[in-house]
């Protein structure tokens, strides 16, 4: 085919539903310890072997602290909870398998929604929740709006790694935290 498959969102439109998907997942997790950071990034999209400058894939990563990444709650319980939760919402579970590595049992749980948004819970050395847009038409950077993070990360803090998109700083009215929280939950639980 000559053009990539149609996507539900443009890049700028994708952030809000992706962040909503993250918040939705966080809300389902019991005894949630908080994330260490949020990272917005992009991956190039290729077409016929050539990187297509008109498309991009948005990836949002929420990472637990290293101590939290190693707890049974995060490594096992959350896998079970998210599996049930995402299945219950009708998301298609495309991958659900343990990965044996030396001295560790990791796990990959991947679900995809009808709108093309993917949710990847990767239990590894660090445990991360990744929200992925799939290929979306690239947007003018000025059209990308700030969306506050989930999971207890203070908007605009050094743990909110979205600065590349807002070189002038996070818009003031957006930077207000939805609730008071420290910059990091490390060593506080």
């Amino acid at each position: 085919m000559d053009i990539p498959p149609p996507s539900t969102y443009t890049q700028a439109e994708a952030y809000a539903p992706m962040e909503a998907a993250a918040a939705e997942a966080v809300a389902a997790l019991p005894d949630f310890p908080g994330f260490e950071w949020r990272l917005w990034s992009e991956l190039p999209c290729s077409h016929n072997g050539v990187i297509d400058p008109n498309y991009v894939e948005v990836e949002i990563e929420y990472r637990f602290t290293l101590p939290d990444s190693g707890t049974p709650l995060v490594r096992q319980t959350y896998v079970e909870v998210l599996r049930e939760f995402w299945s219950g919402l009708g998301y298609q579970i495309l991958r659900d398998e343990p990965v044996h590595v030396p001295d560790r049992l990791d796990h990959n749980l991947y679900a995809r929604r009808e709108d093309g948004i993917g949710l990847w819970y990767w239990v590894a050395g660090y445990t991360v929740l990744r929200i992925q847009s799939g290929a979306v038409p690239i947007s003018d950077p000025a059209d990308i709006e700030y969306v506050p993070p989930s999971g207890g990360i203070r908007p605009g803090s050094k743990y909110d790694k979205v600065g590349k998109y807002f070189p002038e700083g996070i818009p003031e009215q957006e930077a207000v935290a939805p609730f008071e929280s420290p910059d990091s939950y490390e060593d506080s639980l």
Binding site: M1, P4, P5, L39, S41, E42, L43, P44, C45, S46, H47, N48, G49, V50, I51, P53, E57, E59, E61, R63, L66, S69, L94, R95, V99, H100, V101, P102, R104, D106, N108, Y110, G118, W120, W122, A124, G125, Y126, V128, Q132, S133, G134, A135, K161, K164
Partner: protein, 595 residues
């Protein structure tokens, strides 16, 4: 060119070669004691100013001092760096290949194959006995097992008939296995010859360019000493130029020893005055190369600006309808294209304050290890410092990758670095995007040709050896190729040898050999993946050899998910549809084999 035969390599006493290197090192230590005594006992002692004060005595003291200096330099540059290191490198390389030979030759013999042909192009063929066994319907047990038939044990029984009906398979299987052994043998000998040639080149250059000695004492001393001192002052520059030009014969390890032997002032002067002798050179540490290459990049962009301005002035004076106008316009467009590509590269690796930029995902510094605008353009950019990393993963991209749009490949390297961080917290890792070759621009015909991979083999070999020379001892090195990049890795590994613990072939059209055994890396650490909808797997074997995902290639495979059925599944390996591939690469690159 090396004329070593496989029998000579098999019988070589590598321990003796290594012991010879050791003895040169011991000799150097002993001789350094002598030069120290020359200075303290003679120049400052018996011949000291307190005992002898005259013009002649001053000359003698100077001459002895210069001779001691020269001797120390030669001990360092020649005895240690060239002779001892060359012998050690050759011994290591020969021993590695000898080990493979000791595994391979018994396999060849036990399967009743013969090694024939000149040493540069060994053939492994079916022996007369094996031909006869197949033709007389009495194939050996191993061949029956491979084809899946029972060995005939009587005349014209059912098994014999099956053997007859399977004769084409029997021949094909035997020839296929002989071909794999042939690939393996040729690769072993190619790497051994390469090591032999490298050592010979280092020693030959030393023999052909002996260092000058201080002039003799006597009437002409005053006339000649200034020339000698002038030559001394340019010696480091001459060495640096020869290394950068590739005429020194020194390996990356030897270059690293030479660099570490320079004073801080000499290193700083080279970086500032001659960045072109520092930036592209494998074996020089990453920080120094990065600094030099950033200067070169700035200079190149400034130079392009000047050339563009000059062309625009020329163009303004030409008739737009003339041929000359068209030619100048084409030149101008090319210059502008180069200017744009280099500016984009600069923007990726530089922050708003002009300092080295951190990567978006892994948060690691970008290091510029090389760039070029020739052909489709080249760039070598590290995400994280490979010299301080526990794990270094070098990504070799494939067809259509060019300097234009290089950000996409650097982005992939950054993604791989972030994935590696998550897989192995606490370990330092670096991912290098190595477009150090002119990649094919088209799938047909260019990616069908092996010349692009052959052209890259020596450069990739040297790059990996440079990483070893400048990196942490025991660091885990991985080479990851995508598409034609896998072919590049395969050619480098079989023809020259690469310093890598793991090889990862993603979406390979073939790697130039039919067997993982020929790659010179433990077969257990060779990995391949291709998703089920990727058309690359349809590449015919006669182009680039057996596909590394095939069972009979050897090594390991790991799963990669497909993208949408109507997507181009040759390019989805780092996208959201392929978590399994992404995390597998991260596990391999951090020394955590996925199970």
């Amino acid at each position: 060119m090396s004329e070593m035969t496989w029998q000579q390599l098999r019988d070589l006493d590598c321990g003796a070669v290594r012991a010879l290197g050791d003895s040169w090192k011991t000799y150097v230590d002993g001789m350094l004691d002598h030069t120290a005594r020359l200075r303290t006992d003679v120049i400052e002692g018996h011949l000291g100013v307190e005992n002898y004060e005259s013009d002649t005595a001053t000359q003698v003291r100077e001459q002895i001092g210069l001779t001691a200096d020269r001797f120390e330099d030669d001990l360092s540059d020649y005895a240690t760096t060239r002779i001892a290191t060359s012998l050690h490198e050759a011994a290591d390389a020969f021993e590695a290949e000898q080990g493979e030979l000791k595994e391979l030759v018994p396999l060849i013999e036990s399967h009743d194959f013969d090694i024939e042909g000149p040493q540069s192009e060994y053939d492994v063929n079916l022996s007369g006995g094996l031909h006869q066994a197949i033709l007389t319907l009495n194939p050996p047990q191993w061949l029956c097992d491979m084809v899946g038939i029972k060995k005939p044990d009587g005349f014209w029984d059912w098994d014999t008939l099956k053997s007859l009906f399977s004769s084409v398979d029997l021949y094909g299987t035997a020839i296929g296995l002989a071909g794999q052994y042939q690939d393996w043998l040729r690769a072993v000998m190619a790497r051994a010859h390469d090591a032999d040639d490298d050592a010979a080149a280092a020693l030959k250059e030393m023999r052909e360019n002996p260092s000058g000695l201080p002039p003799h004492l006597g009437a002409t001393y005053d006339d000649l000493i200034d020339d000698y001192k002038d030559a001394l002052s340019s010696e480091v520059a001459d060495e640096a130029r020869a290394i950068a030009d590739g005429t020194s014969g020194m390996s990356p390890e030897q270059v690293n020893q030479w660099w570490e032997g320079l004073s801080d002032a000499e290193r700083e002067a080279l970086i500032a005055e001659h960045p072109e002798w520092v930036g592209p050179v494998d074996g020089i540490p990453t920080e120094a190369r990065d600094t030099a290459n950033r200067t070169l990049l700035d200079n190149r962009i400034d130079s392009l600006d000047d050339q563009i301005a000059a062309k625009e002035r020329t163009l303004a004076g030409l008739d737009p309808e003339s041929d000359a106008y068209e030619r100048v316009k084409q030149d101008l467009d090319n210059l502008k294209g180069d200017r744009k590509d280099l500016s984009e590269l600069q923007a990726i690796i530089t922050d708003e304050d002009g300092n080295p930029a951190m990567s978006d995902k892994a948060g690691e510094q970008h290091y510029l290890l090389g760039f070029d605008t020739e052909g489709s353009g080249q760039a070598i950019v590290a995400v994280g410092n490979p010299d301080t990393a526990d794990h270094v993963n070098t990504l070799v991209p494939g067809t259509t990758t060019a300097l234009a749009g290089i950000g996409g490949s650097i982005n992939r390297a950054d993604t791989m670095s972030l994935d590696a961080q998550n897989a192995a917290p606490g370990d330092a890792n670096a991912t290098v995007m190595w477009l150090g070759y002119d990649a094919p621009d088209t799938i047909f015909p260019e990616a069908m040709q092996k010349r692009w991979a052959d052209g890259a083999a020596e450069d990739l070999e040297n790059f990996t050896r440079g990483l070893t020379a400048t990196g942490q001892e025991g660091a885990n090195h991985t080479l990851t190729g995508h598409s034609y990049g896998t072919t590049v890795i395969g050619h480098a590994a079989t023809q020259r040898g690469v310093d890598a613990d793991n090889l990862v072939f993603v979406a390979s059209p073939g790697v130039g050999t039919d067997t993982a055994s020929a790659l010179g890396v433990d077969e257990q650490n060779v990995w391949a993946t291709t998703n089920s909808l990727d058309p690359i797997q349809l590449t015919p074997e006669f182009l680039h050899g057996n596909n590394p995902i095939d069972d009979d290639f050897g090594g390991n495979t790991f799963h990669s998910d497909t993208g949408a059925w109507n997507d181009n599944n040759h390019s989805t390996y780092w996208q959201d549809t392929n978590q399994v591939g992404r995390d597998s690469i991260a596990y391999i690159a951090t020394g955590n084999r996925p199970q």
